[in-house]
Symmetry: C2
Subunit: 282 residues, 2 copies
């Protein structure tokens, strides 16, 4: 029985005719086995990921037009976005990572087009960037709560695809992940936040207001993901009730994105022998 | 024999009459023992550090005027700044960490006062920020290479103290660390960068040019640290030839900074019972 591979992760890609209800949040596609095997699949890519991050950084220092990676995380409240960032990114050096959380837009941000605040955080070459929520809020929340008219939402799907294509053009590999949890799993998670004093701060009464609109959100996700899953910026629907599984999958998706640069260490821009001599004399 | 504590780390503080030549880069003040014991001293504060970071974040979400931590790392080339960031910050969630590397200023940055580019990165409440080099380059490099006149350097010591006092006023705990390595240790590190193909990119011929000015740099460090070590923003001179020791010390200094907020979990801003009822009905 083979271990989980990048190919298994890529199989979760959203394509034409995607239906969210076909994905069981408790399932673990491509993986069978217990906790130990899951740990192994999670730790497996670590050495390669570390090298790839260093190469990404090294090439950005020395060359032009090198790449960056952008992970966009979406999901209902308590779907585990924070946990993915905390656990998966442990493997990377924080020197090369930027995490950006997009909360409710400020008044200044609302005065601009919805992509304005996102563009402030376009990935710099050599970096691995995570968006904890993103411009997708502006088609998800806005559709469900009718914060924008239908034709503006419609316009936004196109604007998002254009925007992401532009990033890809500048060598940003975009990985979009929806952490797909069940309504029952959310109930347990919210109950825990209400139970534990050290988790109260994570709870917001608005979470319940959104939860009551569950079906509407699922519909909004399905439409947004189908409309914006492109070759340059594919969506992956990752079952999230098993947190460890979801984290393991995200790691493999990042591995694929980094591998795709087909990098090597940059050539030295100095004469190695000459520098050894200078060092010896210093 | 007791383990290394925060008190041992604080003893490395730079005070009046500080002389850099009195600090042996190969020494490990406050610590005796082997590798295993060093690992234990390094891992010891992890659970507390994790909780403190979460509390710092939680309080910033819910309250005004909460704090942030700023670690400023300085040291000669190959002194281990990158390693400190990579190893020490593994304990924190990347969601709450910002690392900023200050390289050679751009033309735009040079057109401004030296603190201008630094101020773009003032820590936001709830965050732990690392400066990999900083405004201290503008009194160190500038003094040694005479890039600025003596009276401007003089002015800058005062400007730095004012700037850092202002941050402290807004509840930023500032920890300034000089990683103090020996010239021989640097030679070994540079030789390694010239030896290994996967480290060539870290090497810069200018490193040797700076190395030839070693004594001048040590003098510049001593003056800058003595002039700017204040209660609000103390300097710590951490011997760096033993990398694991230096990393362990920095962890304990961060522990002290975080503890000093004397935090608790924020009170919920909602009625817990009422929310339990809403959840049950949802």
């Amino acid at each position: 029985m083979s271990d989980f591979t990048v190919k298994d992760a890529l199989a979760l890609r959203v394509g034409e005719g995607f239906r969210l209800r076909d994905v069981d949040p408790a399932s673990t596609p491509g993986f069978t086995g217990g906790e130990k095997k899951l740990d192994r699949a999670f730790d497996g890519p670590d050495d390669e990921l570390k090298d790839l991050q260093r190469m990404l950084h090294a090439n950005a220092l020395r060359e032009d037009h090198t790449g960056a990676v952008l992970l966009i995380l979406q999901g209902m409240d308590t779907s585990g976005k924070g946990g993915v960032i905390r656990k998966v990114f442990k493997v990377f050096s924080p020197q090369g990572v930027d995490t950006v959380a997009f909360g409710r837009p400020t008044e200044q941000e609302q005065a601009h087009d919805f992509l304005w605040r996102i563009r402030q955080h376009e990935p710099e070459p050599g970096r691995i960037v995570v968006f904890d929520r993103s411009h997708y809020e502006d088609v998800l929340v806005h559709r469900v709560q009718q914060l924008s008219p239908a034709d503006e939402i419609e316009r936004r799907y196109g604007a998002i695809v254009d925007f992401e294509n532009g990033l890809a053009e500048r060598h940003v590999r975009i990985v979009k992940v929806m952490l797909h949890i069940s309504k029952e799993f959310q109930r347990e998670n919210l109950a825990e936040r209400l139970e534990r004093r050290d988790k109260h701060w994570k709870y917001d009464p608005d979470d319940i207001t959104q939860r009551l609109l569950w079906d509407e959100y699922m519909e909004a996700f399905e439409i947004a993901m189908t409309r914006t899953s492109t070759d340059a910026a594919p969506w992956y629907c990752v079952p999230g009730d098993n947190k460890d599984y979801a984290r393991m999958v995200v790691k493999h998706l990042l591995l694929d994105a980094l591998r795709s640069f087909d990098m090597d260490w940059p050539e030295p821009h100095f004469d190695v022998e000459e520098e050894r001599r200078r060092l010896a004399e210093s």
